[in-house]
């Protein structure tokens, strides 16, 4: 009898369900820039003050930062490359780039490939980027430290050279 009453109560307290679908589509995002700006940097060598001494480098430049925003499909990673795209480094010298970071932001911001020497061929400087953002400022993202090294002293000539470096973020 108790079982019967329980069954009857279940019949009275029946439930019904309605449903509706909800979806959201997220897009691919790829943005990259240099902070604080694209203004040129200058690297100088100083003449010796004593006969017989070599020229000496004036130091390095660490004022540039790479910022980026990246949204990728599952199982996709991105890399950032750098290459000299116009002009050239003075003969006898090579341009060294040290990349450190990341600093700030969130997500999978990848890993720095450092140090390396830039040329007209694209070189990977950051790899393994997935969905990520670095923050938008100097002091965020990856810091770029440029310096010059003497590769062949016999090729050095006085004067100055101007060149451009292009940074590219792309899918692996």
């Amino acid at each position: 009898m108790k079982t019967l009453i329980f069954i009857l109560l279940c019949l009275i307290n029946t439930k019904l369900i309605a449903q509706v679908s909800t979806s959201i589509s997220l897009p691919s995002v790829v943005l990259l820039d240099i902070e604080p700006n694209n203004a040129p940097i200058t690297l100088n060598y100083l003449p010796p003050t004593e006969a017989g001494n070599s020229i000496s480098v004036a130091g390095s430049d660490n004022t540039k930062w790479i910022n980026f925003s990246s949204a990728v499909e599952p199982n996709i990673t991105r890399k950032i490359t750098a290459q000299i795209t116009s002009g050239s480094v003075s003969s006898g010298l090579r341009l060294k780039l040290e990349v450190s970071g990341p600093s700030g932001g969130g997500g999978n911001r990848g890993n720095a490939v450092s140090p390396l020497y830039l040329s007209t061929a694209a070189s990977t400087i950051v790899n393994g980027i997935e969905g990520a953002f670095t923050g938008n400022s100097s002091g965020s993202g990856y810091n770029l430290v440029f310096s010059l090294e003497i590769q062949d002293y016999s090729l050095l000539r006085s004067g100055s050279n101007t060149f451009s470096i292009t940074y590219t973020i792309a899918d692996n």
Binding site: I12, T22, L26, A132, T134
Partner: protein
């Protein structure tokens, strides 16, 4: 035994006459985020919330005039989802009813509540109710979430008491 059989028939007929239903109108809510919302490299989305229309869906509660009261619970069943996203729902009005003695509780707009796989009470009432409006939000939008279309199913369950 005959008495029991007659009682069963009576209760079956009672249940058929008062078959409570919840019907949702307004269709699915599908939203897309535009990549152009991020204008500066280094930034994530500033607005991390997608919001539906105020009356994206409406609920009709029928077949409950013979019951003392009823209530509706909501939950979700993920089809393809990301744990970084959350779905929220709120009731934005009371709908209408042509039946004397009808009521709804709570009245007016409610606060957003997060949907989970566990049914949660959202509103109840007495007697039939039509066009009770609902609004949704999806929160947690970020570039750190993989690019694809995510979907879930919102379930409305009615219980007559």
């Amino acid at each position: 035994m005959k008495y029991i059989i007659k009682l069963l028939c009576l209760l079956f007929s009672f249940n058929c006459c008062y078959a409570q239903t919840v019907n949702i109108t307004g269709g699915s809510w599908a939203t897309s985020i535009t990549s152009g919302l991020i204008s500066e490299a280094g930034n994530d989305y500033t607005n991390t919330v997608a919001t539906s229309g105020v009356s994206q869906n409406q609920a009709d509660i029928r077949g409950v005039n013979g019951f003392s009261s009823w209530q509706v619970s909501v939950s979700k069943v993920d089809v393809d989802w990301n744990s970084g996203l959350s779905v929220w729902i709120r009731k934005t009005g009371d709908g209408d009813s042509g039946v004397a003695g009808s009521s709804i509780t709570p009245t007016g707009s409610t606060a957003f509540m997060q949907l989970t796989s566990t049914p949660q009470y959202i509103f109840g009432g007495v007697k039939n109710r039509n066009n009770v409006p609902f609004q949704y939000e999806i929160r947690g939008i970020s570039v750190t979430i993989p690019v694809k279309t995510y979907s879930t199913t919102i379930m409305y369950t009615i219980s007559a008491l």
